[in-house]
Structures are given as structure tokens and as C-alpha cells.
Amino acid sequence: MNLYARLAQVARGLALLALLVLLASWLVYGWANANATLAQRIEPHDATMAQLLGEPGVIIGSPQRLIITDPQAFLPEDPTATMEYRLVNETYLKQNNIYPLQLQTVEFFRNIISVAAVLGGLLMLGLAAWFSGRVKPKLARA
């Protein structure tokens, strides 16, 4: 096998790898999306403060789609509440050094990886075709 044929093979391999990376990034995003919960971080009041103010705690920021796999991080759901999000215990997160991953972070990196994989894959396919084109005349002469 001459050099161009080998390079064409390597380029096709890299194009295949780019396709696999693209698929993996979407699979990871799919997993993250399935495990993300719309959650509001809240620092719970102690019992006296909660009773005085009639609320469970101090709201921190706005609701985000968070990927939290530890069920203890969530406050018990209030069946009477009409909230569209779950409350996440900020104190618990801090005590356990949990910095929740946001779905938008996964989405951001998926997009970057996707663009890189598609561009890289197309470049490799182009190179593979070019290298293959350089191989054929030599084979014909042989």
C-alpha cells in the first residue's frame, strides 16, 4: 500500500472517529437532559425563621435545569404547592461540595463538539477523497 492509500485510510478512520464523537456528544446530552430537573436553589431557614416568615428559605438566583443525582439534595416536595420546579437545598450542596452541573453547560459543550466533529469529519472525508484520487493513477499504471 502506497503512502496516499495509507493517508486516505487514516483520514477515513478519523472521519469515522469524528462521527463517533458527534454521536457520543449527543448521547451524553440525551442522558443529561433525561436527568436534569428544573430546580430552584434555596437556603432553608431554621424552624423559627420559617415559621416567622411563612416560607421555607431564601431563594438563590433563578430556577435552572440542574443535573443532580443525589436525591437528598432536594427538599421534600409540598403536594399543595403549584411550583413548576423543585427546591434544592443549598446548604446540603455546600456541605457535600456539590456544584450542580447545568444542562446549559452540557448543551454548550455538545454544540462546540458537534461543530468541531462535523467540520473535522468533513475535512477528513475531503482529504480521504483527495488522497484516494492521488492513488488511482498509480494503480492504473501498474
Binding site: E43, T48, M49, L53, I59, I60, G61, S62, T105
Partner: protein, 196 residues
């Protein structure tokens, strides 16, 4: 029985008299919460501190008041030291040079219940701008509960959420930052003041 009624009436009257004049509530303790939230392409992050000082003057009968609230911006923590450092730097909120976010009321208008429209001046990065926002102010008379929480006297709980446009305060989002970081900073204030 008559004596009890007189005592009850006297107590009710004295409590009305006690609240009839404007009172000054000083922010004290560490139960305050000031949060800034910034939306970026990578994530939406919050910086938070309990270091808030100031005074609220409130007349519960006239439903008006005034106040000054100062947040120690240099103590805001986002959960990422590198980002905290960048937030304090001159490239961003410049707390290294101007460590405080200060709000001073100009006028207060009662809306309904505990809701108020507050107009004032806010200072950030050494620049002062006008701000109109809504605020909730609850008066919590002194009780066993407030005392057990460490408050002396009557307590007010003031809350407000508002947005600041960073470019109004001289924050320059250069290059890629202009596309990846929002020009809006969401601010949440939740503070407690006591009149003793």
C-alpha cells in the same frame, strides 16, 4: 373584667402609638442575603454574600420611608475562586477599587399590602445611576420568635429583585464576551433590620 378591658385597650393604644412615628431600623446580624446572577453561554451563575449594612427608616402608618443599603461586593462568592477574582477585577465589577454596591432611596410609594415602589440611586464600579424597583417590606413586631432569632426590638424584612445593565456602569464586554455573557445582572436583596 373592666380592668382587663382597660389594660387591653391601653396595650393596643400603646402599640399603635409605638408604630405611629417613623422608626429607624439598622441592618444587623448575618441573616442578610445579597445575590447577583449572571447569564453566560456556559452557565448561569450566582454570587452571594451576607455582608450587607445600612439603615431603613419606615413609617408603618404613613406607609413610607427611606433607606441606605450597602452590599460588600468584594465578599460575593460564586463557588469558583478564579471567577470571584475576575468579578472583583477592573475588567468586570471592579470591587477591588470600589468594593461596595450602594443603594440610596429618593422616594418611596406604597402600592398595596407590603409592596412598595422605590426610586433611588445605585452605585456600582464608582458610577451612580437612577433605579426604580419594587420592594416588599414586612414589619415583624418584637416577639419571642424574633428574640430567639437574635433580633432586638421590632424587625423589618426588606426584599427586592432588580436588574442592572452592566454597560451603564462601564463594564465593557469585549470580543467573544459580548456574545457569551449577558449585559444584565440580576440582583436579589433580602435584609433584616432591627429598631434596637
Amino acid at each position: 373584667m373592666r380592668k382587663q378591658i382597660i389594660v387591653a385597650a391601653a396595650l393596643a393604644f400603646s402599640s399603635l402609638v409605638a408604630f405611629a412615628a417613623p422608626q429607624t431600623f439598622s441592618l444587623a446580624g448575618d441573616r442578610h442575603s445579597a445575590t447577583v446572577e449572571s447569564v453566560t453561554a456556559v452557565e448561569t451563575f450566582t454570587g452571594r454574600t451576607s455582608k450587607v449594612t445600612g439603615q431603613i427608616r419606615f413609617d408603618p402608618v404613613a406607609k413610607t420611608g427611606s433607606g441606605v443599603i450597602t452590599v460588600n461586593g468584594a465578599s460575593l462568592e460564586t463557588g469558583n475562586r478564579s471567577r470571584d477574582g475576575h468579578m472583583r477585577s477592573a475588567q468586570w465589577l471592579n470591587f477591588d477599587q470600589f468594593p461596595e454596591i450602594k443603594f440610596e432611596t429618593v422616594s418611596v410609594k406604597h402600592l398595596q399590602g407590603d409592596e412598595y415602589e422605590v426610586a433611588g440611586k445605585i452605585s456600582l464600579r464608582g458610577q451612580t445611576k437612577d433605579l426604580v424597583t419594587r420592594a416588599t417590606l414586612r414589619l415583624l413586631p418584637a416577639s419571642e420568635q424574633t428574640r430567639s432569632l437574635g433580633f432586638q426590638g421590632d424587625v423589618v424584612n426588606l426584599r427586592s429583585n432588580f436588574q442592572l445593565k452592566l454597560s451603564d456602569f462601564g463594564v465593557q464586554r469585549l470580543g467573544r464576551t459580548a456574545q457569551t455573557v449577558s449585559d444584565t445582572l440580576n440582583v436579589q436583596i433580602n435584609v433584616f433590620g432591627s429598631n434596637r
